[in-house]
């Protein structure tokens, strides 16, 4: 490869043509594997600080666990780079003849109708009854966090994944939904004209969020992607600080108690209680199922196609008859109202909200769920939200709880370098990245042509 002693004798062109060692993929892969090894040694090693911030690092280095992990990484890299031939060729040989169970199901899936329905039914059954087998801790995580953030992420996906508008303040709508629930159930210091049941609050929260979304969107939609992002950031801060400082209205940081989900039909009453998480889970599962079903329909409708066109090129979209302002507003409003439903669900589940439930970090986290899973792809976003909410809770058993988001950050960095399209990317997003790599377009967060409106 490159030889440092020779470079002095090379012409400028030859020097420039030389591929630097750090530009070679194999060294980049080594870097990635070593970082992964280091990360794993930290996750699995000694935790805590003991009044010395380097305590854990020093301990892990001195007891050799770092060396073991790095050695393992080096070994994997060396085998992959220099001795992979026997493995891949034999794997290929096996692959030709092997009938994997998943492959067999996959083949039947595409040919046999009953297999398709069977798999779907089995999957649905696991979704519905599976969590009964979980520990109470995980049930709570599932209901309080995963299910709620799934809803928020699916809503944000409409705004950023489909319409291509970068929204950094999405949790503002979540807060508006939650405070709507608190207001209409009579939990806030200010009393509503009529106290309503939590379920009846949902349409009101949706309408409130629609209005808030349109109010925010109407004056700002002419802005380019990055300016819009700052505006949404500001909007979030306004909502958050209003919730925090208007203590007489919102309860501020000390918070308010909100009634939990309950049904009162006069002759029959039912209350979701804190003892059992499952009824909450089933309720939220129903919400998610309905929202996801509607959104899948939406994606392939005329509205979905208009969003795609706007993301690709606004001028061209307008010239084919797409009302760009209307559809962008619509995306904003639909996303906002989904987030609002999640807010109602959150308040009515946890039974208590304060302003600190709606900090800016959450907006950023939800954005990372969407990007991690795959912008614009509903399965991707569902997976991204579920996985990234689960991971910090899972890490609780292994690392210092204060460090959990650090590992989340590391994972996001690695992910964006090696798989920027997300875990389960949408077909179109995949195309964008391929074309960006081939130099025939850009692939920033908000799509190729978001800034081209004059």
């Amino acid at each position: 490869m490159s030889d440092a002693t020779k470079t002095t004798n090379l012409t400028v062109a030859q020097q420039l043509r030389e591929v630097r060692w750090y530009q070679q993929p194999r060294w980049r892969r080594l870097g990635a594997l070593l970082s992964l090894g280091l990360l794993m040694s930290m996750v699995t090693g000694v935790q805590g600080t003991h009044n010395d911030i380097f305590y854990a690092v020093r301990e892990n280095f001195s007891d050799g666990s770092v060396a073991v992990w790095l050695g393992l990484a080096l070994l994997v890299w060396a085998v992959r780079e220099f001795a992979s031939a026997p493995f891949t060729s034999s794997a290929r040989k096996v692959k030709g003849t092997l009938v994997t169970p998943l492959g067999a199901v996959g083949r039947l899936w595409s040919t046999e109708r009953w297999v398709r329905w069977g798999v779907i039914a089995a999957f649905a059954a696991i979704l519905v009854w599976g969590p009964m087998g979980l520990s109470r801790f995980w049930q709570t995580v599932l209901v309080d966090q995963i299910a709620i953030y799934l809803l928020v992420a699916v809503g944000l996906n409409v705004v950023i994944g489909w319409a291509g508008m970068l929204d950094l303040g999405f949790i503002a709508f979540f807060a508006i939904g939650a405070y709507s629930a608190a207001f209409w159930t009579g939990a806030l210091p200010v009393q509503p004209p009529v106290v309503l049941n939590n379920f009846l609050v949902i349409p009101l929260a949706v309408i409130t969020c629609l209005i808030a979304g349109v109010l925010l969107g109407a004056p700002t939609l002419r802005l380019r992607g990055d300016y819009l992002a700052i505006v949404t950031l500001g909007f979030h801060e306004i909502v958050y600080l209003a919730a925090k400082n208007l203590g007489d209205v919102t309860g501020g940081t000390s918070g308010v108690k909100v009634d939990r989900w309950h049904i009162d039909l006069g002759f029959w009453t039912y209350e979701w209680n804190v003892i059992d998480q499952m009824p909450f889970y089933w309720l939220l599962l129903a919400f998610i199922a309905i929202v996801v079903f509607l959104f899948i329909r939406l994606e392939h409708s005329k509205v979905g196609r208009a969003w795609t066109a706007i993301r690709e090129d606004e001028v061209a979209a307008a010239s084919t008859g797409v009302d760009t302002v209307r559809y962008k507003l619509m995306a904003f409003a639909i996303g906002a109202s989904t987030s609002g439903i999640a807010g109602v669900a959150y308040a009515s589940k946890v039974g208590y909200i304060n302003s600190e439930n709606f900090v800016i970090l959450l907006s950023i986290l939800v954005l990372s769920y969407v990007i991690f899973g795959g912008m614009g792809s509903i399965p991707g976003v569902l997976f991204g939200a579920a996985f990234l909410v689960w991971l910090p809770e899972f890490l609780r058993d292994f690392v210092d709880p204060k460090d959990r988001h650090m590992y989340l950050g590391a994972l996001l960095v690695v992910m964006m370098i090696y798989r920027p399209q997300g875990v389960i990317p949408s077909r179109r997003r995949q195309r964008e990245l391929e074309m960006a790599e081939a130099g025939t377009g850009g692939a920033d967060a908000t799509g190729p042509a978001s800034g081209r409106q004059s």
Binding site: R305, A309, V315, S319, T320, G321, R428, E432
Partner: protein
């Protein structure tokens, strides 16, 4: 297609017609901030015609077309379509009136396939008309070969064809084209202008903005020459083509 029978009505030799033009720009004044880009422009496009707007860079050609297509609003003056005022109507709504617009710089959807691009062109309808799709593929055989290719990976000429094809999918009565020859090889420009002629013969009225005066005037029935925001000359295309001033300014002496 309505009233296709009398589309071929010849323009009178005197140049003045008394019937209502399909598109009329009346005393159009457009400003960019304080700068007056159009200083009272009058343009008439009759049904079945091809009209070319010519002029140097900055003469106001594109501004005129963008005003006609609803992307800009005039400060003064009117845009009339079949005698009805349409200025102030947004470009996406004008599509429903049967005004197709091929924007400057082609502007295809880069991540959609050729077919998807064409389907977007028929966005104002419930579903794309398969006959229109066939028509576009017949007019542009090169697009037909590249149905599943992504718009952004096409060559410049193919993208221009796609942009025109996409506009045709909206069944326009009037097609507005902004510099269809921009940045294209002479051979491709020839092909595109031949196809525009064919489209016009099939009954679509065309208003185009062009730098390439010789190609445009060979295709057009009439032409307008713009200079710094006003109409400097308006005449039959053949007369303009023969005019020594036009030849000097836009064709280069002796070239044709």
């Amino acid at each position: 297609m309505s009233g296709a029978a009398d589309l071929t009505k010849e323009t009178e030799q005197t140049g003045e017609r008394t019937d209502t033009p399909m598109l009329e720009l009346r005393d159009l004044r457009v400003f960019y901030g304080a700068i007056e880009a159009l200083k009272g422009i009058n343009v008439k496009v009759y049904e079945g015609e091809v009209v070319a707007l010519l002029g140097a860079n900055g003469a106001g050609k594109s501004t005129t077309l963008r005003t006609a297509s609803g992307m800009l609003s005039p400060r003064d003056g009117q845009v009339l379509f079949h005698g009805e005022r349409i200025d102030g109507i947004k470009s996406h709504d004008l599509v429903r009136f049967g005004i197709g617009h091929v924007p400057e710089g082609r502007r295809v959807f880069p991540r959609m396939t050729v077919r998807e691009n064409l389907e977007m062109g028929a966005y104002r309808f419930k579903a794309p008309d398969p006959d229109d799709m066939d028509r576009v593929f017949t007019l542009f055989p090169r697009l037909s070969e590249r149905r599943t290719q992504l718009g952004g990976t096409l060559s410049g000429g193919e993208q221009q064809m796609l942009a025109i094809g996409r506009a045709l999918m909206g069944k326009p009565e009037l097609l507005l084209l902004d510099e269809p020859s921009m940045g294209l090889a002479p051979l491709i420009v020839r092909q595109i202008f031949d196809i525009l002629e064919e489209i016009n013969k099939q009954g679509t009225t065309v208003l185009l903005v062009e730098q390439n005066a010789s190609q445009a005037l060979q295709l057009a029935d009439r032409g307008y020459v713009l200079e710094t925001g006003s109409v400097a000359m308006a005449d039959e295309a053949s007369a303009l083509l023969a005019d020594p001033r036009v030849r000097a300014a836009y064709l280069g002496e002796g070239a044709a």
